[in-house]
């Protein structure tokens, strides 16, 4: 259990990471660094799983032997990275690129 917390912390403290959400395919939050005050975490957990499911089925449709390994949405304000799984999703929201490369 603590490894999970450690890893979440490690990811969270990376410079440009804005938040982490672990949820299941239905959108139920298992872990979130957003806290309950802001609706962001909930919004993410509500919307991303459907998108990831659609992406997963698209990849499968194009080639039945293929499967989705990683989904990355780059937008103007941030970047959402989704590592999907059979039942769960690990979602990390990262700020724009300029903020990175500070700890190298």
């Amino acid at each position: 259990m603590s490894e999970i917390e450690e890893t979440i912390n490690r990811i969270k403290t990376h410079k440009s990471v804005q938040g982490i959400v672990i949820c299941n395919n239905d959108g139920q939050i298992i872990r979130s660094t957003y806290g309950t005050e802001s609706k962001e975490g909930e919004n993410i957990a509500r919307t991303i799983p459907t998108l990831a499911a659609k992406a997963k089925s698209t990849v499968r449709d194009l080639d039945p032997q293929n499967e989705l390994t990683f989904l990355r949405i780059k937008s103007k304000n941030n970047e959402i990275m989704v590592a999907p799984d059979k039942e769960f999703l690990l979602i990390v929201v990262q700020g724009p690129k300029e903020e990175k490369k500070e700890d190298e």
């Binding site: 259990m1 999970i4 890893t7 490690r10 990811i11 990376h14 440009s16 990471v17 672990i22 299941n24 239905d26 959108g27 139920q28 298992i30 872990r31 909930e42 509500r46 459907t50 499911a53 659609k54 089925s57 499968r60 449709d61 390994t69 990683f70 990355r72 990275m81 590592a83 999907p84 799984d85 059979k86 039942e87 769960f88 999703l89 690990l90 990390v92 990262q94 690129k97 990175k100 490369k101």
Partner: protein
């Protein structure tokens, strides 16, 4: 809570009304012989959806009537109806109009509604109800019944927070741990901006790469002619520069034939004409080398065992149109190297014979060579003659180069020389490493090759090996690599004309080895046994997909190269170039 209850009641009421209405319609429609009414019903569905009513009516599997839920008895009767209707033609139309989506996973969730991926869960102000839109639900009536039944139960918020205990139990579970370890690594790699390569995938692809070796060469065709090719050694093969499916093959004498047999034969084969050769060309001496004229499509040149150069015109007769004379300069030894250099308007025929003599001919005037060059090299044995002739067995010109050429000799050296030298002497630069006569040389002529790769020379020898040389570096004259996988004389080596790092060697046991330098410098990627006869000559087709191999009994086989082997792996190629550069 009261509000919600009332709302629910209202909705139920409306539902009931609708049901009644629709039932009437249904009865009416059953009397008609209706055609497919699908579009109507879809619009009905949309209307329903829009008006935020319960959209349980959405699913028409029949063209008649809309299934309306919730009462148990109704459902059963409806189910029975659909069962009956299923046998009808109309149902089939229905299916074809709206085919079910492939591989849908209809998940049964306690607090959700069975739907496919088009869930639009609208969180409204009164958040207690979630109204799903059931599009694309499978037209399985049993499933439908389940859906409709569960839809009744519905309508708890999907967003219901699961308790901390549940969360904890999930987190403790094995599957979660595994998921987390894998995905967190992926995410961390991605965060740092690097390539997201999942390690498991990498391990899988490596395995695939190793399986390339099988089936790279498959036999396509075999050419032989009872009369003209039996028991003759194939001495030369060349693909036509103009016609993609034609190649010529020169044969030596049939030792066991009768006196009346043709002594020297060149046959033109076409891949499309499998039963017999397309053209015959004869000569009165065994033919040791032959080639097409690149600029005149109907001209074939041959070099004979007695030193003559002959020209055939395919439009005319079978015997040579022109021939060089046996006196006055020219060769008196077998001609092992024959090529045409130059451009369309200014070209020359270059022939090299076994005694080290190179002659430059002009086709219009075959009586006398334009220039004679005698290649000589230092005499290692230091007898009376300081210089000794180069007994050449093969000759090759780089593409586009009309001056420099390479000659492989019987003493195991490869000599580089020029046709037109500045000084009077003839300077040859030897590459000495083979321990036995050089049987074949080949220069990389792939159009995709970088300058580094296009300077690579391959040589095969009777010492069972092949060697790779970098012709750019003059200093050491050491070979870059030696390929030793044969256990017999290696008779020929040829670069593939398209793939920059692929080449083939043929040996006396009948093996054709396919080597790809970008994969492995020490072993061939395929060893193909073409039979028990030694393969004397080979030649890749212009597009690099086929290789023609000729053996010592007159049979020519065409082997097809697999698609996998034709692929050029640029990363590996770049690594190869690096290695070559560093080997100076």
């Amino acid at each position: 809570m009261n509000n919600n209850y009332q709302d629910k009641q209202k909705l139920l009421q409306e539902k009931k009304e609708k049901i009644a209405r629709l039932k009437e319609e249904q009865m009416r429609q059953q009397l008609q012989i209706a055609s497919v009414r699908l579009p109507q019903q879809i619009t009905q569905v949309e209307e329903n959806a829009d008006s935020n009513q319960s959209s349980h009516q959405a699913q028409p599997t029949q063209n008649q009537g809309v299934i309306a839920p919730p009462q148990q008895s109704d459902l059963i009767s409806l189910y029975l109806q659909t069962k009956r209707k299923k046998l009808g033609f109309q149902t089939i139309e229905m299916y074809s109009n709206n085919p079910a989506p492939p591989q849908t996973e209809v998940m049964t969730i306690e607090f959700g509604v069975q739907c496919d991926f088009e869930i639009q869960q609208q969180k409204q102000e009164n958040d207690d109800q979630v109204i799903p839109i059931m599009e694309n639900v499978r037209r399985d009536s049993r499933k439908k019944r389940e859906i409709l039944q569960s839809a009744e139960k519905v309508i708890e918020k999907v967003e219901k927070n699961i308790s901390m205990e549940e969360i904890n139990s999930i987190v403790q579970s094995q599957s979660f741990q595994r998921f987390f370890s894998r995905s967190s690594k992926t995410i961390e790699k991605a965060i740092h901006g690097g390539e997201v390569d999942v390690l498991e995938d990498l391990m899988n692809t490596q395995q695939v790469a190793q399986e390339i070796g099988k089936d790279n060469l498959t036999k396509l065709l075999s050419f032989s002619d009872k009369v003209y090719t039996e028991n003759r050694v194939v001495t030369s093969i060349q693909w036509s520069p103009t016609l993609p499916n034609t190649f010529l093959a020169a044969y030596s004498q049939n030792e066991e034939g009768s006196i009346t047999d043709q002594v020297g034969v060149v046959l033109l084969w076409s891949l499309q004409l499998k039963s017999r050769p397309e053209f015959y060309c004869f000569a009165n001496s065994p033919i040791t080398s032959a080639c097409f004229h690149p600029f005149s499509p109907n001209v074939v040149l041959g070099g004979l065992y007695n030193g003559q150069v002959v020209v055939w015109d395919l439009r005319a007769k079978h015997t040579p149109e022109k021939r060089s004379t046996l006196n006055s300069g020219g060769h008196s030894y077998p001609i092992y190297g024959l090529s045409i250099v130059g451009s369309q308007n200014a070209n020359n025929v270059i022939s090299s014979s076994n005694d080290g003599r190179i002659c430059i001919w002009n086709l219009a005037q075959l009586n006398q060579p334009q220039k004679i060059i005698d290649l000589k090299t230092k005499n290692k044995q230091q007898t009376t003659n300081p210089q000794v002739e180069v007994n050449s067995t093969c000759m090759v010109f780089p593409q586009g180069d009309a001056n420099n050429f390479y000659v492989g000799a019987e003493d195991g050296c490869i000599y580089k020389s020029k046709l037109h030298q500045n000084t009077n002497e003839n300077i040859v630069i030897p590459f000495e490493e083979h321990l036995a006569p050089v049987s074949g040389i080949s220069l990389n002529s792939s159009p995709q090759a970088s300058p580094i790769i296009s300077n690579l020379l391959l040589s095969s020898s009777f010492d069972w090996t092949c060697k790779l040389w970098n012709t750019r570096t003059q200093s050491d004259n050491k070979c870059l690599a030696t390929f030793e996988c044969s256990e017999d004389y290696v008779y020929d080596v040829q670069w593939n004309g398209q793939h920059p790092s692929l080449f083939s060697t043929t040996d006396g046991e009948g093996y054709v080895d396919l080597w790809d330098l970008s994969y492995d410098l020490e072993a061939p990627i395929t060893r193909y046994k073409s039979g028990n006869n030694s393969i004397n000559k080979s030649q890749w087709s212009k597009d690099g997909t086929k290789i023609a191999i000729g053996d010592s009994f007159g049979e020519i086989q065409i082997l097809q190269l697999s698609q996998k082997a034709q692929k050029v792996d640029h990363e590996r190629l770049a690594k190869l170039e690096q290695w070559i550069k560093s080997e100076k």
